[in-house]
């Protein structure tokens, strides 16, 4: 028997640890590439100042990176510790991208980050630049594999249920990897990281320029990051639109919640700019609409019907009824794998197995054979995520995106047309922009993950069934532990980050890597120093 409180606490713990981890990841993704760009300029021009620029931002990168790595460890284990049924049920598919991520991407990133930090005087310019690129490549590949895994949860492609082993199994790795959902998500998310890094660099550079400190470094950093940022923010918005398009096909319930569309309407349907969704009454208490805009926005056509919540719920009820015999047959097959009648019953209903699971929660003794009409009605209401949350969180994300677009357009114009350091009004605004991409990233996660509810794997496995069978006490213990630890971590990180930013770039002579003892290497250091 599964305890509802344990499920809710598991969800809370996952959301808290994932959102926290995702505070550090975007900056790592973007800053690693920005560092590679800066160092490329250094290697091409040979100007020492670009080396100082690279080293300064790499110092901040490393402070952030440590926490990204630390909190990532939690995620790698949390599926097993807290989502035990999920892990057994889809591990055959979901585990593969996670393992490949470690093998192909994270090993590369982590091995070379050590050389990036400590190898300045031991590597030639070209070697060090290569190492920096490998760190960037590693972190971005890492994101690719994680989002391939997440893409499967959003739209489970390339997999089929095997009644012999009672779990989902991989049938096509290519379908899993090249799933449109996974690929669009990957590009949208990694570019969101580039935007984050660009704002981080411009914001801190503006802070220096405003105070007349480190002008040479700040001006150059600002220009590089502005260009990087304007390209990225354009990309993130384009890909966001594509994601809505692709994701909307896979998950009509998420789309309907994002737009607070309670009734299916004639195409072209109106678009709610703002609304006050009331889930109990299944309507918007009020809304501000633009007629005809929703359909072309979501479907890129004028005549495609976008299903509203009413239709999605009705579909869910029908699929639950069809899925119940599949669950019943599975129970027989578990004890008697050779039972031919049960197998043919299962095969006739297997497409709706997940919907059969959906009603398990409400059926007497959690046995779907006992499911009543009321149970089915309740379960079909569950098929819709929390509309109010999704509607508004999505809008906050979009608003942040548009705000950042305006910011970067202005910052590029200012820094290309003249000396941005004279535009004090803009320099005053810039540091306050730093939180915006972080908010957008977090809101994006909530839209994607809360919007997928009630499913852990869309249409296949309810979140509610996925959790481990822990006691409430265990869950409170672990949640409190994470909150305490992570709060301390956040305080330490912010303190060190602010301190490093206040201190600013260090003078060059202190940068030598002094672990050199080998006379040959010492000579190498001298020759590289002369080149500057």
């Amino acid at each position: 028997m599964i305890n509802d409180t344990v499920v809710e606490l598991s969800r809370l713990q996952f959301a808290a640890t994932a959102l926290y981890h995702f505070l550090f990841v975007p900056l790592t993704l973007g800053l690693s590439f920005l560092l590679a760009v800066m160092e490329t300029v250094y290697v091409i021009t040979g100007k020492k100042i670009y080396r100082e620029i690279t080293q300064f931002w790499s110092g901040l990168f490393l402070i952030n990176f440590a926490l990204g790595v630390a909190t990532g460890l939690t995620m790698e284990f949390e599926f097993g510790t807290n989502w035990s049924f999920y892990s057994g049920f889809v591990g055959d598919i979901f585990g593969a991208p996670l393992a490949i991520e470690g093998l192909m991407a994270f090993f590369m990133e982590s091995t070379f980050v050590g050389l990036m930090a400590f190898g300045w005087s031991r590597l030639s310019k070209a070697q060090h630049l290569t190492v920096t690129y490998l760190v960037a490549l590693g972190s971005n590949f890492s994101a690719l594999w994680i989002l391939v895994a997440n893409g499967f949860m959003q739209n489970p492609l390339g997999a089929a249920f095997n009644p012999v082993t009672m779990r989902m199994e991989l049938t096509s790795l290519a379908a899993l990897i090249f799933s449109e959902d996974a690929q669009t998500k990957f590009v949208h998310t990694s570019i969101a990281g580039y935007v984050t890094a660009a704002i981080f660099v411009t914001g801190i550079s503006a802070y220096y320029m405003l105070r007349g400190r480190h002008m040479e470094i700040a001006r150059r950093s600002f220009r590089m990051a502005s260009l990087f940022g304007v390209l990225s923010v354009a990309g993130v918005i384009t890909l966001g639109d594509a994601l809505g398009f692709v994701g909307g096909h896979a998950q009509p319930s998420k789309l309907a919640a994002m737009e607070a569309m309670w009734q299916t309407e004639q195409a072209p349907a109106p678009f709610n700019i703002a609304a006050w969704p009331d889930q109990g009454e299944q309507r918007n208490a009020w809304s501000i609409q633009i007629p005809y805009v929703l359909t072309p926005l979501l479907t890129h056509t004028f005549d495609t019907i976008v299903p509203g919540i009413d239709r999605i719920e009705a579909d869910a009820a029908a699929r639950i009824r069809n899925g119940i015999p599949a669950v019943n047959a599975l129970k027989v097959l578990s004890a008697d794998p050779a039972n031919a009648a049960a197998l043919s019953q299962f095969n006739a209903h297997k497409d709706d197995l997940g919907y059969g699971f959906l009603v398990k929660r409400y059926a007497k003794d959690q046995d779907v054979a006992n499911a009543t009409d009321e149970d089915i009605a309740r379960a079909s209401k569950d098929a819709i995520p929390n509309v109010f949350t999704i509607f508004w969180v999505f809008r906050v994300m979009v608003a942040c995106g548009l705000l950042m677009l305006a910011y970067f357009v202005i910052s590029v114009i200012l820094s290309l047309r003249g000396d941005v350091a004279r535009q004090r009004w803009f320099l005053k605004i810039a540091p306050w922009m730093i939180p915006i991409p972080f908010i957008a990233c977090e809101m994006g996660w909530v839209t994607a993950e809360v919007g997928r509810q009630p499913w852990a794997v869309f249409g296949l496995l309810p979140t509610w069934m996925s959790a481990s069978t822990h006691s409430v006490g265990y869950m409170i213990f672990s949640l409190v532990g994470f909150v305490l630890l992570y709060t301390v971590f956040a305080a330490v990180e912010v303190y060190l980050m602010v301190r490093a930013i206040r201190k600013g770039p260090q003078s060059h002579h202190a940068q030598e890597d002094s672990t050199t003892t080998d006379p040959e290497l010492a000579a190498l250091v001298l020759t590289t120093e002369k080149e500057h």
């Binding site: 402070i63 460890l73 790698e76 510790t81 035990s84 057994g88 393992a99 991520e101 012999v164 069978t469």
Partner: protein, 378 residues
């Protein structure tokens, strides 16, 4: 079907390789952390010790992450059942491990002694505790863990947290820690100049080696009296199956079945002894590189011994032995194993190659003046 059997056994071997890689590479860094306050009496000595592993700990730690990922991909039921069943122990492992990156990265960023002492202690704890948990986890697999499945393979753990800290498991944990201290000591001897720190590192490594020999021997005798597990009947090993279709019995000394059936397997524990005995001699002779490689051999022997004893079991159930998890029933599908094998064949050699290159680039001794003059050193 026979191909599936080959993949199953191959992934059992690869799991072993991963656990050995984890023990050798992460254990070395953990060993340095665990003895940080012993080998380093002054702040400079501690910084020297930390900077010997500074460029490498992050890459090495991926063995641990990959270990988790590979168990997930290749043995999903083990990942699901062990990680949730051993919940509090896993949290202990995780919480001590996640403070470690911060300990390395943040410790020397401020010069206040209180700040540095606090991080030193976190490094000591985050070096010692995970390795104890690592060994204790393996020990518990030999003891059997109380869990069972419902019809849909939902797993239920019915033991308490304290039952996981039974004397045998704790002994395995200390064995794991002592081997880590040895590896850390050998690393410190190799990367520091002769002096007080070097002497203490050698002393720690010697103690680690001696304790390891004693505990490995005691463990062997203890296991011969433990209740081992035996499959009575089950679907053929090469067939897709769940843990609900077999029958398993327990018998004293059953963990020695494989050794009795195939005498050549005695070479595995023998390898462990060779590594430990010659490794100790190498440490006494001050031959740190040799001692490191012999330490790695000892790890291979010790983990191999446990693996061979358990085979084909991975996680036996003490409360319902017939629902024990084995290589045959906890493994992924043939298709997944096939692809995972492909990725491993391509990328594992690459990992070994660039890790070796990184060690080569950063070779040489770490000295006091370098640590003190370099503001970016740990």
């Amino acid at each position: 079907m026979e191909l599936y059997l080959v993949f199953k056994v191959l992934w059992w071997l690869l799991l072993g390789v991963l656990l050995m890689g984890l023990a050798i590479m992460v254990g070395m860094d953990m060993g340095v952390g665990a003895m940080l306050r012993y080998v380093g009496r002054t702040d400079t000595e501690r910084r020297i010790a930390l900077n010997t592993i500074a460029p490498h700990w992050d890459g090495n730690q991926v063995w641990f992450i990959l270990g988790g990922g590979a168990i997930f991909a290749a043995f999903p039921l083990i990942y699901a059942t062990a990680f949730s069943g051993l919940y509090i122990v896993m949290l202990l492992l995780l919480w001590t491990m996640i403070v470690r990156p911060l300990g390395f990265e943040y410790r020397s960023k401020l010069s206040s002694p209180a700040w540095r002492n606090a991080w030193d202690w976190t490094l000591v704890v985050s070096g010692a505790v995970p390795m104890v948990v690592y060994g204790a986890g393996t020990g518990n697999m030999l003891m059997g863990v109380p869990f069972h499945f419902s019809w849909d393979l939902t797993s239920y753990y019915t033991g308490s947290f304290l039952s996981l800290l039974n004397p045998f498991a704790v002994m395995c944990g200390v064995l794991s820690l002592s081997l880590s201290v040895w590896m850390g000591g050998a690393m410190l001897m190799g990367r520091t100049a002769r002096g007080a720190l070097w002497d203490r590192a050698r002393r720690a490594a010697t103690v680690g080696g001696l304790v390891a020999i004693v505990l490995f021997t005691v463990g062997g005798i203890w296991v011969s009296h433990l209740q081992g597990y035996r499959i009575e009947h089950a679907p053929l090993p090469g067939v897709a199956q769940t843990p609900l279709q077999q029958s398993v019995t327990m018998a004293e000394g059953a963990w020695f079945d494989n050794y009795h059936a195939h005498r050549v397997l005695w070479l595995v524990p023998a390898l462990g002894y060779v590594g430990m005995l010659f490794g100790l001699l190498a440490i006494r002779a001050g031959r740190s590189t040799l001692a490191w490689w012999l330490g790695a051999l000892a790890w291979i022997g010790v983990i191999g011994t446990a693996g061979v004893s358990l085979f084909p079991f991975l996680m036996p159930s003490s409360s319902d032995p017939s629902q024990s998890l084995t290589v045959w029933n906890a493994v992924s599908s043939r298709y997944t194993l096939m692809w995972m094998t492909g990725w491993t064949v391509v990328f594992m050699p690459a990992v070994v190659a660039y890790t070796s290159w990184a060690f080569y680039v950063m070779r040489g001794k770490v000295k006091a003046e370098h640590v003190e003059s370099n503001p970016h050193a740990y």
